[in-house]
Amino acid sequence: MAVIDKEPEIKPYEPLIEGNPSYGDFDESIGRLILSHAAHSKAWLKWLGILFMGVNLLLLSVGVLLWQGIGVWGNNQPVGWGFDIINFVWWIGIGHAGTLISAVLLLVRQQWRNSINRFAEAMTIFAVMCAGMYPLLHTGRPWVAYWLFPYPNILAMWPNFRSPLVWDVFAVSTYMTISILFWFMGLIPDFATIRDKASSMPMKKIYGLLAMGWRGSAKHWHRYEAAYIILAGISAPLVLSVHSIVSLDFAVSIVPGWNNTLFPPYFVAGAVFAGFAMVLTFAIPVRKIYKLDHLITDLHLDWMAKIMLTTGLIVFFGYLLEVYYAFYSGSEWEMFMTSNRFSGPYMVLFWSLWLFNGIIPQLLWFPKVRRNTTMLMIISFGISIGMWLERFVIIPMSLHRDFLPSSWGMYYPTIWDFGMFAGTIFFFVFMMFLFIRFLPFINIFEVKDLWLKMKHQGHVPAVAGKGGEEN
């Protein structure tokens, strides 16, 4: 154990934590990032400043939108939904990796999740924040968007429960709530660690408050474990339900290219696919900059790449099935929609989608590629683009040519579409920067726990492919 093996072929028992750290080392390597600003390069502040300007771009774009109306965007007749819903679905999808890693992998006792789960959960929350902006702001009259919530009112007027948009409201708000709770609960023991290690009074106060009186007693741990598993149990179905419901926005409709029973599983797979791509896009630079490759090891990258490959294959299978069903259905609308994807005015985007999501990820079959951070970065970045294109292909490309050729039109996003999209990306990265600075972005106590198990129970339970501690 604890052998640093840099050879490319995967040894059967490869450690999830490299080196031979003490428990204090974990506190140090993660905690110092919060407690001491010196741990961050000057570049952090510079970048934060740039990102803050980007956040202002978001505020400006939203301000213009609110002042003028949806007309500042490129949406039109027949394309009622453009960047707004593309970006909504894209961001929601990105969040999914976090939930999958923290909840599903916890339940199936995949301990390798421990060093990436916190990070992924944060991404979930920030991604859902970005996503949540869109359904609210894409309405023509955002000041009355609260009518989508079932609240008691004097008119006894309920939302229309038949509408998938109402289901979206429930799905996304549940998702947001559970994700925040889960994330915060997981943070409590680490808040206590930071509180204990903090030297300055404000830090002690703030983290003390956040730790909610955590003392680390056996009783605390017992209750914590139980509650955490329950929350994981609640959020695991959300991985499936949220994006299924989002996909129903399309599947329930009559639009060729939307009306497709394949959508729920294919959207879920796509979400996980996109989510892992985004986790990798962030994890690779962060582990390099903060020298955390003993915690986020090549093995982690390898396994995440494998999940990406698997879900990518599901998604690509979905693409092929869409084409097959279009022709199998015999419906002239479906067939036309498919040929319009192949050779219509937006064909470049369609074929790029197949390239980024279908072809390039096949490189992940090669172990060398899965452990090459540069290649992984490129592939993950490509997948993020590809998943965005997938939503473009589904949403505007289905709408722009539907039943009556007289109504066909083109959709061109405007500067404010791009402004708001770029703004949400800046906001997301900005939040991640703050997160890395002020919160323990690797789960300290779970890593310690993993380390303990590795040390005292032999390395068997804590390695790849061998399941949980029961083994």
């Binding site: 949806i70 009559i254 040519r401 061109y412």
Partner: protein
């Protein structure tokens, strides 16, 4: 009051000082007077120029009392003199005016040298809608789009509101005094010219002749950019009299039209459309042959159409005349399709009732020949004289005026409407038009020193010596019920063929000048509805590119919006092109009417002024032009995006518009619609059916695509204008649209709408303008019983009424646009911006019309003026709200209220939607489909009835009647 002795303020003196001053001078003098201490003292003194009330004697006292009491009564007439700005209830309600209750007034809309009887709907003295007058023979209850849109002109923000003298506000008194002075100074009126559009009002004609009696040397010059010069001159050659033909299409079996666009651009087009479609609706139908030099709606309706160059029209008529055995007609100078002419001739010869129609743009000889042909065929045409004699052609009269101006012989020029500086043939001098807010009638009368109101004048003309009650009835109905004196046209001059003008021969490219389909000669260039109304054949808005055929475009490598330089003589015009399927080769159509430089805020910068090429020599068409692709540069783009509302022209083989040949349909009929399969039990309805069930039937067989319904809907339902920028983005707001598709009849086989126009296989057919068929489909909300828009709305803002209306609840709508995405017909419209309130911005061509654009007070005034046109029974929609056709629910409710008051059911035909009301061809029928005896139910039982996209099983309440064509078997089978 100060003790200082002041001179008495003498009002009489001041009046005299001011009397002969106008404009700046007047106000300056006024200031001088107002600043004197005498004046101030006079104003402050309760009893001016008197030291005490006791100085008033008894008689003056009684006078003051009387005057005071009378003036107190005058207060009630405030609105006669001052703008009423506050909304206050009537204290003494004027008779007939019930707030919220519309009044309809009959009047006449004169356009294109014909009069259309209309009813103007007015709320509290505010006219908001124009509808056809059912008892007027030219309207029969319908209108065209021009008549519908003209109500907006009343609220034109750029309307002249004052009398101007040299750009300064003046007064009618000054104007009339000076004009009369100048007129009196002439020698019996020598040098007085009155320039007017063609006079259609008998009263105005009488007034003008009265004026000419007083000033015998005065000249009246009538001029219209779209005039009937060739028609009258042709008549003169054929019959020795300048007469207008009036074609009666009622019951006509075979019509042959030579550039005669009787559906849109000929006088009395509404009447002719109705007569044509009434016959078209019968089982035997009529047959329409069209030979035309520029695509028109009449050509689109044709059973057989030939696209030729403008110079070839005459040759075709000559060939027809020869075929029909008209003596003395020589062959034409151009080749004609002999088989086509032969078939047309034999068809015309054997038909019971027939007519040959020739349009105003055809040559003089064509019109003369048409007289002979119609005489030989006993064609269904009568002749009548113009209201005011036109002894010379209008162009010659205008030229005479121009010459007189250049020679300095014009002493007084009175312009009564018209804008020759824009629409006259080029190279004419500029004349500043005088805007006025008196009617032309009142002005002419005033110039004779006997000002009277229009009412008095009209009554004097028609009512003198007659029954006043009769006159009141005429006024009320808008129709004078005296039978028109039949004009027996002089006999055809037997040797007329010898005196025909020499034929024009041209081998190269020709230009056809045609009035703009929506702006006409430019008079509606500042009318937002008309600028944004899609031109029926191109679906273009806000622009007037050169129309060229697909072959020419292909040869020159041009596509929609590419610039060309058209050179004719010394003038060159740089203009974008619009590729128009069915356009003849080697012809460029230029629509005049757009591109006015002095037009107002709406038409500002819209389109190109093609009048610079319309020289006196080529009024309707011109040969010898050259067209070259324009070079683009760093600073100047050689492409302009065209704001088309429809960019795809093929039906992609889909079952959208069904068209059949009459005989084949009679034999084979149409596939019966299958009952849609539903997952729900069949008895389960989406909504409880209760009360009348509203439905609509649209007859594609008679829809000409004239767009009157679209404008009527816009007027009725307060639909905003959004401007070119937003049309380019695909956000036009019209609730009703007319889809236009092209189909190809390959090899003369039955026309099948499933042929694909874009496929390379059909390229040659598309290049052949004669092979292309145009089909039209009016489309508004289908009011599906199982409406896809309803379940997806998260806030239930679109729901079904128990009468089957798919309703939009504006104030519940949050604007997710999901309903629009899910609408298979894409008939929903979204307020992407605050279009209704941003009306002053809609003229912007390039700038983004955001609300932060600084708007001048002038534009804001325009906006408040535009607010007056809103129909008070229809909600004005704000930003972020979805809207769509309501089946004119306000009209349904009005009828329901009336029916309830009388405790009865709503009668069939009592609810007439705005589109139905305007439709000249009666293609739209609305009513209760639960009542099997209603007109709409009977139409839905017709064999031709089908549901658009029926396989989606949305159970549309609007259904269509398939289009039938009636081709000549002789031409079909060969």
């Amino acid at each position: 009051m100060s003790d200082k002795k002041l001179n008495k303020f003498n009002l009489q003196e001041v009046r005299e000082t001011l009397a002969n001053k106008g404009g700046q001078e007047y106000w300056r003098s006024m200031d001088q007077v107002a600043q004197t201490p005498e004046f101030e003292a006079w104003v402050e003194d309760e009893f001016p120029n008197r030291s005490s009330i006791l100085q008033i004697d008894r008689r003056d006292f009684i006078k003051f009392m009387g005057a005071s009491m009378m003036l107190a009564g005058m207060a009630g007439c405030r609105s006669m003199f001052l703008p009423t700005e506050k909304i206050v209830p009537y204290v003494n309600k004027p008779e007939d005016i019930i707030p919220g209750k519309a009044l309809r007034f009959a009047t006449v809309f004169t356009h294109n040298q014909s009069a259309l009887g209309v009813l103007v709907t007015s709320y509290e003295g505010r006219p908001v809608k124009i509808e056809g007058n059912p008892s007027h023979p030219n309207s029969m209850g319908a209108t065209d789009h021009f008549a519908q849109a003209t109500i907006l002109d009343l609220y034109d923000p750029d309307r002249s509101r004052e009398v101007f003298k040299k750009n300064l506000p003046s007064s009618w008194d000054v104007l009339l005094r000076e004009a009369r002075g100048a007129m009196d100074a002439t020698d019996k009126g020598k040098g007085i010219f009155i320039l007017t559009e063609s006079v259609l009002s008998p009263t105005l004609a009488a007034e003008l002749s009265g004026l000419q009696k007083a000033f015998p040397a005065a000249a009246v010059v009538q001029y219209d950019a779209v005039n009937q010069d060739n028609v009258l001159e042709g008549s003169n050659i054929a019959r020795g009299a300048r007469l207008h033909p009036r074609y009666d299409l009622g019951g006509v079996d075979v019509i042959a039209s030579f550039d005669g666009d009787f559906i849109q651009s000929m006088p009395e087009n509404v009447r002719m459309s109705r007569e044509f479609s009434d016959k078209r609706k019968t089982v035997e139908m009529n047959r329409l042959y069209v030979v035309e030099s520029s695509p028109s709606l009449t050509g689109a309706m044709a059973d057989h159409r030939r696209a030729v160059k403008p110079s070839q029209i005459e040759a075709n008529l000559r060939a027809l005349a020869q075929r029909l055995g008209v003596a003395g007609i020589e062959s034409g100078a151009a080749k004609v399709d002999a088989r086509f002419i032969a078939a047309m001739a034999s068809d015309l010869g054997s038909a019971a009732k027939k007519v040959v129609i020739v349009g105003a743009s055809a040559s003089v000889a064509s019109h003369a020949i048409a007289h002979a042909i119609n005489e030989a065929l006993s064609g269904s045409v009568t002749y009548h004289a113009p209201v005011v004699r036109q002894d010379a052609s209008q162009i010659d009269a205008l030229r005479g005026l121009t010459k007189a101006i250049n020679a300095g012989q014009v002493g007084v020029l009175v312009v009564l409407g018209g804008n020759p500086t824009f629409d006259a043939p080029a190279q004419q001098p500029l004349i500043a038009p005088i805007h006025n807010t008196k009617s032309a009638l009142e002005l002419v009368s005033s110039l004779q020193n006997r000002p009277r109101s229009s009412y008095e004048l009209v009554k004097a003309k028609h009512g003198v010596g007659k029954d006043t009650a009769q006159f009141e009835k005429w006024l009320n109905d808008g129709v004078i019920t005296v039978a028109e004196k039949a004009v027996s046209a002089p006999a055809l001059n037997p040797g007329f063929a010898a005196s025909l003008p020499v034929q024009k021969v041209s081998s190269g490219l020709e230009i056809a000048f045609r009035p703009d389909p929506t702006l006409w000669d430019g008079r509606w260039a500042n009318n937002g509805w008309m600028q944004e109304l899609p031109k029926p054949l191109t679906t273009l808005t806000w622009d007037n590119p050169a129309l060229i055929g697909p072959k020419m475009a292909d040869d020159m490598g041009l596509s929609d919006g590419d610039h060309v330089n058209i050179t004719l003589g010394k003038q060159t015009l740089r203009i974008p092109v619009c590729v128009t399927v069915g356009h003849p080769d080697d012809v460029v159509t230029l629509n005049f009417g757009n591109g006015r430089t002095e037009v107002g805020s709406v038409g500002h910068q819209a389109g190109q002024n093609v009048n610079i090429l319309r020289t006196g020599l080529g009024f309707w068409d011109a040969a010898g032009a050259t067209v070259a692709k324009a070079a683009g540069g760093m600073l100047e783009s050689n492409h302009t995006d065209l704001a088309l509302t429809q960019t795809h022209h093929s039906m992609e083989g889909r079952d959208i518009i069904r068209a059949f040949n009459r005989d084949e349909f009679a034999k084979e009929g149409m596939e019966k619609e299958e009952e849609g399969v539903s997952m729900y039990p069949s008895q389960e309805k989406e909504f409880p059916f209760d009360g009348p069930q509203w439905g609509m039937s649209i007859d594609l067989n008679v829809c000409t695509g004239c767009h009157a319904c679209v404008t009527a809907c816009q007027a009725e339902n307060n639909i905003p204008v959004i401007g070119r920028m937003h049309v380019l983005k695909g956000r036009e707001m019209h609730w009703m649209r007319i889809d236009r598709y092209y189909t190809v009849s390959a090899g003369g086989k039955q026309v099948d709408p499933r042929d694909e126009i874009d496929s390379p296989n059909h390229k040659q057919d598309v290049f052949n303008p004669d092979a292309v068929k145009t089909v039209m489909m009016p489309l508004a909300c289908m009011h599906c019983e199982i409406a896809p828009c309803e379940p997806v709305c998260p806030v239930a803002a679109t729901v079904h009424s128990h009468e089957g209306l798919n309703q939009m609840v504006y104030n519940r709508c949050v604007g997710t646009r999901y309903c629009s995405n899910n609408c298979p017909y894409k008939v929903r419209r979204f307020n992407f911006l605050n279009y209704t309130d941003n009306q002053p911005n809609f003229m912007d061509r390039t700038e983004v019309p955001y609300t932060w654009t600084i708007t001048s007070s002038e534009k804001n005034n325009g906006r408040s003026l535009l607010k007056m046109i809103a129909n008070p029974n229809v909600t004005v929609r704000g930003r972020g709200v979805m809207e769509k056709c309501t089946y004119c629910v306000q009209r349904i409710n009005e009828a329901r209220i009336e029916a309830k008051k009388e405790q009865r059911e709503i009668k069939d035909g009592e609810v007439v939607t705005a589109c139905q009301q305007a439709c000249p061809s009666g293609a739209i029928v609305f009513g209760n489909i639960a009542d099997k005896k209603s007109a709409v139910s009977k139409l839905k039982a017709n064999k031709r009835n089908y549901t658009l996209l029926g396989e989606l099983n949305t159970k549309n309440r609007t259904t269509y009647l398939a289009k039938l064509r009636n081709p000549n078997p002789e031409l079909e089978n060969a």
